[in-house]
């Protein structure tokens, strides 16, 4: 059990955290032919856009209501209306997800009310799904924005099923924001191997997996379709991945009666055993050969790898669910979690295998990481890692100084196996070579004697 401590500093130094609006915007990017829209000043959008471009190395659809000082004072209705009309005419999307920001929240713009008025005034927009979400910058973090956006999509779009759905092969999967497009592809494979038909809300695998479309599109290149979201009530199960998605799963159950299960994480042997057991029971299909082999390979990787993980001290900074996945996994490999830093409140924090979890920043991580063997955080940890001379394993968003962030795997037997290789290799590469001084006597009297005998 970890104690959760909230930092008392007045100045955040080297932020770990990012804001809710862009977490929500990323969730909206997992919808096909979609355009996320931030209701704020243009910088709110452009910073987020550049961040995602650098992370995914893809064009990012994201627009702004471009609030000026005057519009902010007078209220943003006109800007929201114009933005939606402009986006509709210029990019012809199926879905527009509108995120509030600190600017519009403080002014008190009622986005939900705005949308009702806009709907009534613009019947020509009827074919476009509009979902608003309240995501003030001054509360919560990226992960909260993502989770709230998913809940809002369920509330606004999912239809109440008319028929009994217990026999359906459809499964709803609600991935947390710590899952990459590659993770979603991997999970799709796993679910399909059990003859299930999974739909992911949101589905970044089609939108941000880095593929070559046949033509240019200004909106998302793929993702879950609005009609698929509407029919999520026809599934037999909802599988939420990450504690952050529990709220969305509950909302979906209340609305449609589809039962849910939450997997707090899918990194590591036992976590994936639980998934396999669940899928096998829910589908009535025995665990396919492929995964029996993969499990065996993971066990072997654990055996080969544990030499390099055992007793190593890790310093981790990440959003709660990613922190939970990485710290439990490293702990299961024999590492000690020397310091754990996170961004926002979550029920998973108390279960982190560390003495304490600090809601803080990367300065806190750097201070706590002295003498550690490994730092695990996003790319902004690079300065700290360099100063401390400790290898950095990059996870989460943003990862802007490495290729393939969208395809990094942390789920499944295979994903965990490769994670052992990647992190294990990093630890091996940084093994300390012994020198004649390595075993120099440690006790003071002995050291004095040695020094005396050394030629001056």
């Amino acid at each position: 059990m970890a104690r959760v401590i909230v930092g008392k500093k007045h100045c955040t130094v080297n932020p770990l955290k990012m804001g809710q609006p862009i977490g929500a915007a990323l969730a909206f990017m997992g919808v096909a032919n979609s355009m996320p829209l931030l209701h704020g000043s243009q910088g709110c959008t452009s910073f987020g856009l550049v961040l995602f471009v650098r992370h995914f190395r893809e064009a990012i659809p994201m627009q702004t209501t471009a609030m000026s000082e005057v519009a902010t004072v007078l209220g943003g209705f006109d800007n929201v209306e114009q933005a939606i009309v402009n986006i509709a005419t210029r990019t012809n999307p199926s879905f527009i997800g509108i995120c509030s920001t600190g600017v519009s929240e403080i002014k008190g713009d009622d986005l939900n009310g705005f949308l009702k008025v806009i709907r009534a005034a613009h019947p020509e927009l009827d074919h476009i799904a509009l979902v608003d979400v309240s995501t003030p910058d001054f509360e919560g973090a990226f992960q909260d924005g993502w989770a709230t956006a998913v809940t809002r999509m369920i509330e606004e779009l999912v239809e109440i099923p008319l028929v009994e759905t217990g026999l359906s092969r459809r499964m709803n999967v609600l991935p947390g924001c710590h899952l990459t497009p590659g993770d979603i592809d991997e999970l799709r494979d796993i679910f399909e191997s059990f003859s299930m038909d999974p739909v992911f809300l949101p589905d970044l695998s089609g939108a941000l997996d880095g593929h070559i479309p046949t033509d240019f599109t200004p909106t998302t290149l793929g993702g879950i379709s609005v009609s698929q979201i509407r029919s999520m009530g026809s599934a037999c199960w909802t599988v939420a991945i990450g504690e952050q998605m529990r709220g969305a799963a509950i909302t979906l159950e209340h609305r449609t009666g589809v039962p849910y299960v939450v997997f707090e994480r899918l990194t590591g042997l036992s976590a994936n055993d639980a998934l396999m057991a669940f899928l096998s029971r829910a589908s009535g299909v025995p665990v396919p050969k492929k995964y029996r082999r993969q499990r065996s390979q993971l066990v072997d990787a654990m055996l080969d790898g544990h030499f390099h993980f055992g007793g190593k001290k890790a310093a981790i900074a990440a959003e709660p669910d990613l922190l939970s996945a990485m710290s439990h996994w490293l702990h299961e490999m024999g590492c000690e979690i020397q310091v754990a830093v996170t961004t926002t409140a979550s029920p998973v924090l108390e279960g982190i295998p560390a003495d304490e979890v600090l809601v803080g920043d990367l300065e806190d991580l750097e201070l706590g990481a002295q003498g550690a063997d490994l730092i695990v955080t996003h790319s902004h940890g690079r300065q700290a890692a360099e100063r401390l001379g400790i290898p950095l394993f990059r996870v989460g968003i943003p990862v802007f100084d490495r290729l393939g962030a969208g395809h990094q795997l942390t789920v499944g037997y295979r994903g965990t196996r490769d994670l052992i290789f990647d992190v294990g290799n990093l630890l091996m590469a940084n093994m300390h070579e012994p020198s004649p001084e390595t075993w120099m006597p440690r006790c003071p009297e002995a050291r004095d004697l040695v020094t005396l005998q050394m030629p001056q």
Binding site: C11, G43, A71, A83
Partner: protein, 472 residues
Amino acid sequence: MSSLGAKVQKVFEEPGCATNQAKQSRERKKGCNKQLAPGAAAGGCAFDGAKIALQPITDVAHLIHGPISCEGHSWDGRGAKSSGPLLYRTSFTTGMCEQDIIFGGEKHLYKAIKEVVEKYNPPAVFVYQTCIPAMIGDDIEAVCKAAALKLGKPIVPINVPGFVGSKNLGNKLAGEALLDYVIGTEEPTETTPYDINIIGEYNLSGELWQVKPLLDELGIRILACISGDAKYHEVARSHRARAAMMVCSKAMINVARKMEERYGIPFFEGSFYGIGDMSASLRNISQLLVDRGAPAELLGRTEAVIEREEARAWERIAPFKARLAGKRALLFTGGVKSWSVVAAMQEAGMVITGTSVKKSTPDDKERIKELVKDDAHMFNDLKPREMYKLLKDARADIMLSGGRTQFVALKAKMPWLDINQERHHAFAGYEGMVALIKEIDKALFNPIWEQVRRPAPWESDVTPEELCLHVA
């Protein structure tokens, strides 16, 4: 906010700006802040612009007063390099929470400044205002004044809430802050007749260092670069320079002009991009210094360096002629800057087939026409979809543009080179032009292009035997 409003208005009336002077007085009053179309806008806010302009000052603590998004989404993002201090890459923000909004963020800001000073002891703290504290009425000027008194250090307010305007306006407001609070506040220990300021150069990818060795050779001292690789005290003492060069004209013209007005430092507008422009800049620097009393022999030495460096650059570009002759380039970027590179590309035998003139002034357009003759298209507003089609139809061999359009080119399987702010290569001076030609060559002749454009086996009628041929 009224003082900020007045400042914005003043910046808009900038007499040094040619575009502004061409306007009628009513139009001028409206300023150069184009009304943005909601849902169809691109680009950063004023805060973004201010940080771009000032963050390259390397030993200052840059503290952002706002919620986490403003700084948390953007820090350590730009490639301004430092020859020494690294504090500018450490991020400081108050990360305002709901409590601050209810009770006001001034106390929080003061405590944050104090913490930064106690922990990091920088020569100065720059405090950036953002939208939310501006909305709730946090008076950062007052907080900075109080903090400066108590802590005995310059604490400089940069009043740039994002919603007052564009990135460009933010550049200018940042300049105003330097003029109001930094420039002229300290005296240099010694001055020479060869002291210059370089204004509007940010040392991205280390570009200042491509130019500096030549200045060193000529004995010309950069008293302050505003703001690339600058230190606080250098900027504070920059008012004793003999002459100034203004590099990125749109960004900091107010700084150059007001320094001329206040301290009598003459300036010229120049560019380090392109061989001809580089030479002209060296000439102008020397001439201005000589006009201000430096020995006239500097002019001769400058000509000698120019002659030697130009010859060396052309000599190094020449070998690429055979490979690059007739290659067609699309050039999409704002302003004049990119146009300086055209001469080098043409010298290497390349043809410019199209360019955007969206941000160009009438003068720019004339210059472009002259440079490319009539064989290039000038696009006023090319939508990404049309740009994609142009590239997909292979009506060019390479595109040079900024990061925003990168994926339009790459998804059309077309070579692309970043010539905008985020680029990783340094393209300044004579060295930079040679590097640019090398980069173009590398991009064009990478073996992937032939491979990635080949149809997939299920898309074509080729036989398995033919496919095997490719492998062999």
